[in-house]
């Protein structure tokens, strides 16, 4: 069984049932989605795409994008989705780094994308569609091509469970994003686990809040289709509007929600949930960062019906531990809930700095083994090697970088990070990537970035800057604009401070501890 074959099954068993609906209430059935993705598969094969290739997706969230994802998988290739809101330079880097054979993109990105691909000396084929929406734009594009250059009907490629299904790029500490290579086996093991634990029904309506370049989308894209349930797409703009989201949950009768806690915090604070009937909700899943208990409590008070689950796992493993939130959250509780127990398709190990297992109760780095674990980072063999621990039996364990301990109930408790990776609104941010971005500014002599966290503001990123010429320092506005041109918006520092020189350690490295200390 391959991850896209769930669509084939649902198209056979319930062809006319709703598969996907978008924000404008455009709809596509399982049969229509299967047919449309078949047409794209044929077109990709005609363009030379074969098993083992990669295909870039430069598309806003839409029914067309869902059809494109299934079309790519059927062709035997892996899809590489990029964030259409991120700077084109970053996206062009990703597509070039991953050596995609062809990019399926919306026409409005053509000029900037072609120019950037040419500028970096790369090349790839393109398949542009004039718009995205309810599936019609992709259909028209493919019909148009068919009229001038017919693609013969083909079969879905024979691929193995260890073929790549998708490559998701995450923030890289060296200043360049890195591609996490995930196979059909990785995706299937996770989705099968979800199916066993959450037992979705075929009358359900799943909300798709996360963008497709984010690993939360794997549950959204494949769990409903596995069970013949419907998926309701939430576009990027709508995903940020808490009042609109509350209305959407109510009006679209959403039964299953999955997002980063920050979206749920906003919903609880600003969503006016009490004005809406959200009684169809059966489960609320969250992952990607710590959910402050204060906001989780108020959300549960506003929406007492569904079950709540804290899911944990980096992109490299997808969800690997989980914890169901109890019905009552005591008023006095401020400590975040555990990341929980290891999922049945994974194994967990907590190790000390020497890589030796520690006993329960002791802190150490959480390592994950099993079929959910990624194959490695694209084209980064050394990074891949250093990301894994191999035990005496030869089993590979992915080192999450998260420091945890196991409590008396056997639940893992998250303590902090081993490195400089932080989570901002569910997004993984390497502070080093922001620094690398700041160093590209001609006026910047030194840049150091720290994460500040408090209950009120969540996590904020502060940049300390020293300039080459003290009297010619750029404005904060100028630095933010410069960052926004080079980094995704969630990586633009929230706060800036200018210093004559940054504090140094005895070995002349930037002293981050000193930067974080309160000063006058």
């Amino acid at each position: 069984m391959l991850i896209h074959e769930f669509l084939h099954q649902s198209a056979l068993s319930r062809p006319d049932d709703l598969a996907v609906e978008d924000g404008e209430s455009r709809r596509i059935t399982f049969r229509e989605l299967a047919d449309l993705s078949d047409l794209l598969r044929d077109r990709l094969h005609h363009a030379g795409v074969r098993r083992g290739d990669r295909v870039g997706l430069y598309l806003p969230k839409s029914i067309d994008a869902v059809a494109a994802i299934f079309g790519v998988l059927k062709s035997g290739a892996a899809y590489v989705p990029v964030d259409t809101d991120a700077p084109v330079a970053r996206n062009a880097y990703i597509l070039s780094d991953c050596v995609v054979k062809i990019v399926v993109a919306e026409r409005r990105f053509e000029g900037a994308l072609r120019a950037e691909i040419a500028r970096i000396g790369s090349s790839m084929d393109f398949l542009f569609m004039e718009a995205t929406g309810g599936g019609l734009p992709l259909r028209r594009t493919l019909d148009g091509l068919q009229a001038t250059d017919p693609a013969p009907a083909s079969q879905s490629a024979e691929v193995s469970l260890d073929d790549l299904a998708y490559v998701l790029y995450t923030s890289g500490s060296t200043g360049k994003p890195k591609g996490v290579m995930l196979s059909h086996r990785n995706a299937l093991s996770f989705v099968t686990w979800c199916s066993e634990v959450f037992e979705p029904a075929d009358d359900e309506r799943f909300a798709s809040h996360a963008p497709f370049h984010f690993d939360l989308s794997i549950l959204d894209l494949y769990l409903p289709v596995m069970h013949g349930a419907a998926l309701v797409l939430i576009a990027a703009d709508a995903a940020k509007d808490p009042i609109g989201l509350a209305a959407l949950i109510s009006e679209r009768r959403i039964t299953s929600w999955y997002s980063a806690p920050s979206a749920l915090s906003m919903l609880a604070q600003y969503g006016r949930l009490q004005e809406h009937d959200c009684s169809a909700l059966r489960r609320v899943l969250f992952a990607g960062e710590v959910f402050p208990v204060k906001h989780l409590r108020s959300l549960k008070n506003l929406l007492p019906g569904p079950r709540y689950f804290n899911l944990y796992g980096p992109t490299e493993t997808n969800v690997c531990t989980f914890h169901e939130i109890p019905d009552d959250i005591p008023e006095e509780r401020t400590q975040p809930y555990p990341i929980g127990k290891v999922c049945s398709h994974c194994q967990a190990l907590v190790v000390n700095e020497q890589g030796q297992a520690v006993s329960a109760g002791q802190e150490g780095e959480l390592c994950i083994g099993g079929p959910g674990v990624m194959q490695g980072y694209w084209n980064l063999p050394e990074r891949t090697d250093s990301a894994f621990l191999t035990d005496a039996s030869g089993q590979r364990w992915y080192k999450t970088g998260d420091i945890v301990y196991e409590d008396a109930n056997g639940d893992y408790i998250f303590v902090g990070r081993r490195d400089r990776m932080v989570k901002k609104r569910g997004y993984r941010v390497e502070l080093g990537e922001i620094e690398a971005g700041l160093y590209r500014h001609p006026a910047v002599k030194e840049a150091a970035v720290v994460a500040l966290s408090d209950d009120e503001n969540g996590l904020r990123v502060k940049a300390y800057i020293s300039c080459k010429q003290a009297d010619k320092r750029p404005s904060i506005i100028e630095l933010k604009r410069f960052c926004a041109e080079n980094l995704p918006i969630y990586m633009v520092p929230d706060l800036f401070a200018f210093e004559a020189a940054l504090p140094k350690t005895s070995t002349d490295k930037i002293d981050y501890q000193k930067l974080k200390e309160p000063r006058d």
């Binding site: 709508a238 940020k240 509007d241 906003m266 609104r425 506005i477 604009r481 926004a484 918006i489 706060l495």
Partner: protein, 91 residues
């Protein structure tokens, strides 16, 4: 501040009020003269999703208007001047 009409919010100094809010909330430490009516806010990395929600809540309360999600995109919300125009269209 006084209002001329009992129910109508003050519209004088609208751009100034928006400017002060943005400076204090999202650009602490910035020289106020660096922020102009045409400084790009969305494309300039000043307004992210959370900042946008906070600004919308401030504007809705201050000017007693309703701002829809699709109005907070770069087309209507990218500069103080754009925002002022959006608000005036709703008063």
């Amino acid at each position: 501040m006084t209002t001329t009409d009992g129910n109508k919010p003050p519209t004088q100094g609208m751009a100034q009020a928006i400017k002060e809010f943005i400076l204090s909330e999202f650009l602490p430490g910035e020289d106020p003269s660096a922020l102009t009516d045409t400084t790009p806010l969305v494309t300039g990395g000043i307004l992210d999703s959370l900042a946008t929600v906070n600004l919308v809540l401030f504007l809705e309360e201050r000017f007693q208007i309703k701002i829809e999600a699709h109005e907070t995109t770069v087309d209507y919300f990218n500069t103080i001047s754009d925002i002022e125009q959006l608000i005036r269209s709703k008063l």
